[in-house]
Symmetry: C3
Subunit: 275 residues, 3 copies
Amino acid sequence: MEKTDFHKIFENIKKHPPFVHCMTNYVTINDVANIILAAGGSPVMAEEKEEVEEITAGCDCLMLNIGTLQKRKREAMILAGKKANEMGHPVIFDPVGAGSSRFRTETASRIMDEVKLSVIRGNASEIKVLCHEKIRGKGVDADQKDAVTEGTMEDMISMGRELSEKTGAVVLITGAVDLAVCREQAAAIHNGDPAMARITGSGCMLDGVLGVFAGANPEYLFDAVTAASAAMGICGENAAVLSRGTGSFRMHLMDEMSKINAQQVERGMNIESKK
Amino acid sequence: MEKTDFHKIFENIKKHPPFVHCMTNYVTINDVANIILAAGGSPVMAEEKEEVEEITAGCDCLMLNIGTLQKRKREAMILAGKKANEMGHPVIFDPVGAGSSRFRTETASRIMDEVKLSVIRGNASEIKVLCHEKIRGKGVDADQKDAVTEGTMEDMISMGRELSEKTGAVVLITGAVDLAVCREQAAAIHNGDPAMARITGSGCMLDGVLGVFAGANPEYLFDAVTAASAAMGICGENAAVLSRGTGSFRMHLMDEMSKINAQQVERGMNIESKK
Amino acid sequence: MEKTDFHKIFENIKKHPPFVHCMTNYVTINDVANIILAAGGSPVMAEEKEEVEEITAGCDCLMLNIGTLQKRKREAMILAGKKANEMGHPVIFDPVGAGSSRFRTETASRIMDEVKLSVIRGNASEIKVLCHEKIRGKGVDADQKDAVTEGTMEDMISMGRELSEKTGAVVLITGAVDLAVCREQAAAIHNGDPAMARITGSGCMLDGVLGVFAGANPEYLFDAVTAASAAMGICGENAAVLSRGTGSFRMHLMDEMSKINAQQVERGMNIESKK
């Protein structure tokens, strides 16, 4: 994977604003579309089997998020994923709720088996479930106690690295700290604010931002993921200062993303290289 | 039904923040998720037949709202409802649009027949339709002229009580005044603001708040319902003062819910005991 | 088509607030419902085949938007469209994404064939696709370079007029400038702000506003369309002044629509009559 700096990452978004085909849940679909626009891309939402391959072919990146999943949509996701692979588009995958039902876990497993993924983003519990599915045999349950903390960080990196090695994807484990992990690199992104956990969709919105950053920077996936995570975290920090509750926080978060640039990210980021 | 005070109601939410499994319409699903978080709970959205029973089993409360209903989801709602009954979780039911189509009316009727409900929330017209379905024989149409006013209040309480007796649920009839009714008690909650009727989802959001309050207080359902209605109304009153249109009203409503506590509710509530 | 003035258009909305049955995409369905309320109407969302005819029969106007379209919903749209025709209700049609997949293009084509439309709203690329489908033989692709500019305006009006003559609908081609075209009249509406393109749903929200304006003014469709476009544009201009990013822009846009009146539209509108 090539390396670059954040200025280049942002420059590429500006030069070729990516179209991101999103197949995502209905809870946060509006937030995802809006944050993709705020981050400089264009969202395209389509989920019917009849059209997803054509739609994906006309975009630059595919984002799959299995919240509020339906059976019919799952088939469409696989079709779109295969087409994106064929076209060489990055595929972002969010295994929402993996471990909380067999249907979700099996879906996550099937998508990992049938689609080559570029970025996998989940919380510690979801990533653990994926790891077990892909590597250690089935059957682990989601555990809300799983979290990225100073104490668990080394274990989380090992887990992320295993998943990255098996899938070829950059793995982003999100929580109070975000961990970006690939075969050769790892980084802890210490940006963000607890308010992000008090609105729905912080994670789904990050999926959208990842779609924009990766879609415009397919050759620099690790840096694109790190930059997206830091950008989102910094927007959360700024929004927290301005807001007086969760409703205004959500609005300010969007405002911040619509104004952020490479300079602000470089100034505000708190990224620690890991092994 | 046990009695308690509002401090205890709020304390229980804080002590055991409930997971609320929502099967709700796509118009306001984001608002519902956000207000559940604002009120101190965690929303879980899942609607595919394959997973709803497992998801419900892992939560503390189930909320069923039949807006933008689809046939497949209706079957999933029944499955989830039965599982929630089996687990002893409170079930909140919102018969959105009952009376406006045979499909909605029949769905509401079937849910009442097959699922034991803990709280039924609807406007006067919807509750009237439910009453006829359950008690007086089919066939009444929704009537937008139905409303809770000083003049109709006694009739509405009788209607709510009949429905409560047949179903075992606490019935909350919402409008300019909200009426909470069960077999032994009734209360008129005079909080709220007309601005709440000028945004979509005030009712659906209240369903979510009811999920949080009832989910954490299954043994005090009547008080939980009254507290939720008062809390929502007070948030509406505060938001109305701060807003300059319906967009900012919606944001402030969410802000207010994310900050409200038992003291504010006790200070601001305007609840009249009824027979 | 009768002519009137904007005061009459707004007066009719106030006198008989229309119920608008919306069958629309899940990305912006909440924004659409909220802006319909802000504009003085009542949104009704229903999409299951079993109920759409009854629901449409109880409303004043039908709005069809084919974003995030599913096969089952497409059939329901045709049923609802035919019922609306039977009742004499205006039907607003938004061919979102026509040209970007065969499924969307064929759906748009089928709706035009089977439902008598009152208003068709799309961007230049979508309207061009519809024109080819209806008039010049199939096969044109969406072209993001299509746009209403001073240079293309005459061609766009010809295109809109052809589509209007074939379908009987008022055609509204939206972009930096909006063009309203029917058989006898045409107008360029120069209101609006570039910020509207940086949020999702500006177009879908305009569909909802068109539903309110046309639903209350079925005999003055051209003026209703022009007024709706001008009102939306003016709200966008005012919101742009007040906002500090795309999140607050969206909120202010809703606030503005909830307060706008005929006087403000007449003062702020920038409408140029065309041949």
